[in-house]
Amino acid sequence: MLSNLGNLFITLTLLSSFLLIYYSAVGLKKNGSLIPEKIFRISKTQCLFTILSFFILLVAYIFSDFSLINVYENSHTTKPLLYKISGVWGNHEGSLLLWIVILVIFSLLFLNLNKLADKKFRLFTLIFQNILISGFLIFLITNSNPFSKLYPVPNEGMGLNPILQDPALAIHPPLLYLGFVGSSIYFSAALASLITKYNGSNFAKTIKFWVLTSWFFQTIGILAGSIWAYYELGWGGYWFWDPVENSSLMPWFLMTALIHSILILEKKNDIYLWVIILSILTFTMSVTGTFLVRSGILNSVHTFANDPSRGLYILIFLSIMIFSSLYIFYKYAPSKKSNFQFLSKEFFILINNWFMIFFLIVVLIGTLYPIVLEVISEQKISVGPPYYVIVMAPFLIPFLYFVSRGPQAQWFSAQSNNKKKNFLVLFFSVVIILVFFYFTKVKDVLINLILIFSIYLILQTILDFFRNIKKNYFNLSRIISHLAFGFLIFFISINSIFSTEYDLNLKNGEKIKLDNYEIELKDLNILNEKNYKKIVGNVIIRDQKKDTFEFLEPEIRVYNMPETVTYEASIKSNLFFDTYVTMSNLSGSEFYNLKFQRKPFMILIWLSIIFIGVGGFLRLLPMRQKK
């Protein structure tokens, strides 16, 4: 029953897509500046259909209808409601449906929110958007249908991978999809803009909202994933340069570049083609990421399942997408020379863009190199964090410097009267780090330089804020994001220097002394929860220097459906330090392995990322800056 209804609704969605493409094409030929009412109606109906189909899958999950293979494979009756709901997008088929729902909603919103934009431009955008929608829908229906039936109907499902049963992870995929899919709008709009020879500045105004929205969701989506990895995976790290994490980071670099460069296009009607290229690349990167994750060619915590036929479809889709955009770009791109004033604001913005592209290329090479190497030479390698750190960290120094200088520069001119002040700020930053160095004796030159320039950025941004007050012109959004970025780099650097880790094996009741700490595994409790059993260790950590105690309770969880063991870290956080303990049993012995870590500024790292996002979000609010 639910299966038939679901199938009906997705087929209707696909039909609406075809109708929209057809009527838009017809509408293009007609005179007049208004889009036919019919198109709005079909678009609304289409949106209703996909939401209904998603709703049906949701109902099937909530009521554990195992007549759907998808529900049977990814859910279980004893699962808490929250994870029944998040189970909908915790698997390939369901998440693809969510992806399509967002595509359709965005398509409708774009049509309705840009009533002032040119008719041809809007219709072409709608056509491209619906070609994308149809592509994904055909993939869903033919290869990854969440409404496929199962007969006979089993009494119980196979359950959701326990590692995915986590609140941060419940919201992580939808947030990221809003980012990924949001970029589809400006992909379609960029192609439409090329074909219709749309005015650059108007194009920038139209896509600005979408770039900011997708960037904002991408930022907090990455954050949610990172927090999850920190709490759940038990390595104590928050970013692993895992190929799949990288595929969410790559579009983020492009979105960040885009946020900055559309300012030039909006204000100066320059670098039009560059903005177009970035818009096309962002969604292309999102689909490439999807390909890497779903095809199973990467081994990682994210890989859904090994199914080459999925990969094949996405790859064909991706190549069609790339080659057609390349063709459209080749055929329609106007040739226009840019003129740039050295040290003007647009100069700094372009520098930002080149850095973003550099970071993107570094991450792209690190992600794809193992795949290419395996095909060419059958060697299996993996590229680890050292590569990324070695290649990118030195470039952070000039990057931080340029981020500090950019906001001071003027549009269209190279005037700068802050030389003295800049030098003074730099001087202060060096002094702060020298004082810091005196106490900590950190000898790494690179880290010290990064610290100096992150402080430089922080100080410059604070000065920028005061200049804003003086001029009564507020760009709060930029100030918050830049300030938070400076703090982020500062905290990450401090975190990387001062994190300590101890690895020890203890028996129940045993204690051990390490440096200033005494660690005791006081006792173990076994408790039964709804869908798992847990062994909770009572760990006491005494800081002998400060004479303080901390009680931590790391867990080993044994889930029943499917039978899996997970290790839950116990984390005590305050603003300055996280104390982090994970516990695992050593098979065939009475010892337990404890990993005890002290990590500075974790909370502040999360907060910095939140504020980077908040900065972007403020731009979305209708409140305009005073001039």
Binding site: S295, L312, I322, L326, Y330, V372, V375, G588
Partner: protein, 172 residues
């Protein structure tokens, strides 16, 4: 000029896509079935209860040898143990490799359930078993005197497997 740039971009993208298409064909599932027909590695393993080493190439003295990976903490190993005992009673030479275990527990295990092995070796780190292509226990390998793997069983053996082993080693 524009044309040349676009051609170069298109060709390099095309080549790149060919590589991605190729990468889809690579089988990523770790499969040890293909080890059947290949020789076992020559490895020195310590005896469980003696400070001596045994080299696996010495197994060429036997017409057929069954190599069983077991551990006292492994539940399925207990389940298959009675079939190993039956096989040893039919005079099949069985080598036991004790996987990631404690000597004391392993001996207790063999005392309680009977010892089907004519040789008991140990691999307390589990690293040497990996060289045999073992990734979980129990696993059982039947080799001939040329040290070639004839049969390979992942997971506990049952009655059907036992009969197959007997047939393959020419006992039944």
């Amino acid at each position: 000029m524009k044309k040349i740039i676009f051609t170069i971009i298109s060709i390099s993208l095309f080549l790149f896509f060919i590589i991605l298409f190729d990468s889809l064909k690579i089988n990523r599932v770790y499969n040890t079935e293909e080890l059947v027909g290949k020789p076992i590695p020559s490895i020195n393993l310590e005896y469980l209860n003696e400070d001596k080493y045994f080299n696996t190439s010495d197994l060429s003295k036997n017409q057929f040898t069954l190599i069983n990976f077991f551990s006292s903490w492994c539940g399925p190993c207990r389940k298959e143990h009675k079939y190993l005992i039956s096989l040893s009673e039919k005079n099949l030479k069985i080598v036991g490799i004790n996987f990631k275990d404690k000597k004391q527990n392993a001996n207790q295990f063999l005392n309680d359930l009977g010892n089907p092995y004519y040789l008991t070796l140990e691999d307390n780190t589990g690293k040497k078993s990996v060289d045999f292509g073992v990734y979980g226990i129990p696993e059982t390998i039947l080799i001939n005197k040329n040290l070639l793997i004839i049969k390979k069983y992942i997971g506990p053996i049952d009655k059907k497997d036992m009969n197959e082993i007997l047939r393959s080693s020419g006992i039944k």
